[in-house]
Assembly symmetry: C2
Homo-oligomer: 338 residues x 2
Amino acid sequence: MVTLAEVAQHAGVSASTVSYVLSGKRSISGATRQRVEQSIRELGYHPNAGARALASSKSNIIALMIPLRTDMYVPVMMEIAIAVATTARTHGYDVLLLTGEEGPDAVRRVTGSGLADAMIVMDVELDDERLPFLRGTHQPSVLIGLPADTSGLTCVDLDFKATGALCVEHLATLGHRDIAVIGEAPAVYERHTGFAERTLDGLRSRAQELGVRTLHRPCEGGYDAMAVTLARVLDERPGTTGFVVQNESAVEPLLALLRQQGRAVPEDVSVVAICPDQVAVQASVRLTSVAIPAQEMGRHAVERLVAKLDGHGTDEVVLITPELTERASTGPAPAVAS
Amino acid sequence: MVTLAEVAQHAGVSASTVSYVLSGKRSISGATRQRVEQSIRELGYHPNAGARALASSKSNIIALMIPLRTDMYVPVMMEIAIAVATTARTHGYDVLLLTGEEGPDAVRRVTGSGLADAMIVMDVELDDERLPFLRGTHQPSVLIGLPADTSGLTCVDLDFKATGALCVEHLATLGHRDIAVIGEAPAVYERHTGFAERTLDGLRSRAQELGVRTLHRPCEGGYDAMAVTLARVLDERPGTTGFVVQNESAVEPLLALLRQQGRAVPEDVSVVAICPDQVAVQASVRLTSVAIPAQEMGRHAVERLVAKLDGHGTDEVVLITPELTERASTGPAPAVAS
DNA sequence: AGTCCTTGTCGAAGCGCTTCGACAACCTAT
DNA sequence: ATAGGTTGTCGAAGCGCTTCGACAAGGACT
């Protein structure tokens, strides 16, 4: 293993000079710099991370807490994680992967040991038990998701309220008056994951403004669950012509079931999904959808965090504006039959 | 920040004693141990990771290289990553997330800097460019996936050859004589990702032994691609009654298309999928499938790695035996019509 | 010619931990 | 009682780096 001292000797300078060449924190003459860089290359030197962390009290590592559950939005989580990792690298940081399993302890462990300089927390619940610990430390952190109380926290999320509103709006504009909302699994609501409730919120209040009716039903993924849910919905509101689906694994079953019942999409029924673009494009009917901008969220989170680490950067909530892409699953409401 | 020295002072012992209490590398009297542990608790002490790494030349971090692509098997990748992270924690390791983006450089960087003690590499190609670097370092590593030349490497993977064989076998036993294999996207084959070719291999040789015909077609995911592929297959082999699908995003389209053409599953056509159980269960027909044991693979990989780090543990290839679960998508071949 | 900066480099201290050798204190066997 | 082992604890060195103050050497002023 090559050390700083060896590089210094090889280049005929002192260790500190090499260090300053590396960090650029003091000016070094061109000649010396080149000699040092040459030696670094020749010897294949890599600074030792541990020594660096010890001496500078900075690890250049960002911790990322991902949910342990794989029951929802897995591709989105993955995409965020990848975006975080690649963006972090461009800022000179590596990413430490923490699962939710340890819970708040993980926060303590990582902050306490100086393993990471900062932390990104995904899958935040409205009243997340990790929040006190995040507020209690001076280690910067960014949440992906929105808790109930955001004071003293930096959060990045899709504006799910606007997302909900956008969906109804689109359907209402097309003349739909009776809209069913197929939501996430009941467990998601019980857990008080904010995004689901916020979507519903935006959806309902916009619906009221526009004078359209909504009916919300949580739904587990899969065919069987969707079949039951759909039957109930149509039983209660036979005139339903618009669907908003916020559950990746319910969307394809819904399409199949509608087809099976002889309801054509988009002629008889319109469907708007809240899902990644890839899902929307690969479905049996190309879905009008509001995308979940996973990459952007991951990137944003890292950039906020790096700003905080660099001293500028404030606590604030960044809500990404949703965008609805019209595809083949929505169309004008059919003429009223009854 | 609390340091070892402060704990030592608080407990009235020397720093080294505290260190030995923590590591258990020398015997400490019960009384002293308790006093130290008490002080640790009272002061809320957490050992500094950097200092530890520097002094012991061990970071207690395992690097995990995940693919940058999100074009295939994302849930599987995610599940593996989570399994790796949680298993690693039970052995006292944290996980550093590296994307494939940096390629071989990441290997050099991480080994060179002592950031991680060991490395798990996913999405290995047959002739992966990272292999030379992995062989060249004495840092232990485990691959998830199988390259062409496994000498000097430890690998963990599903036995895809046996998986392929198992699929044909099941269909052949049910009387199917003409089997279509719907594979991954062409890009996967071009990249020479081993698992796809190995599956095909096992599938074909077993088919030959059993005297059944196979026709393999790669296929992008989604409806349109699947429609084209299916049409071609049925054109070339109208008598096809069995399908093996190794592409998550082709399976649902295939089922829909078959249904649409009036071919009932499993009465007219049988379908075996190679996919995670969750996908198999949530499909419109509960699929007979060979599961991809993501958790097991992640767990195995970490355990191999830890064994190596502990000195025992050898280079070897661990192939997990596939298991076929019979569900509702396969049945006896229909009586020959022609 | 002397003073004052600026620029480039060095030496040394120290980050918080592990680990090795030393060594009291005690126990056991002669 | 003495030699020989254990057992439990300590002190000190050192891991590889960063960073601070010091200080030559030269340039720009009076």
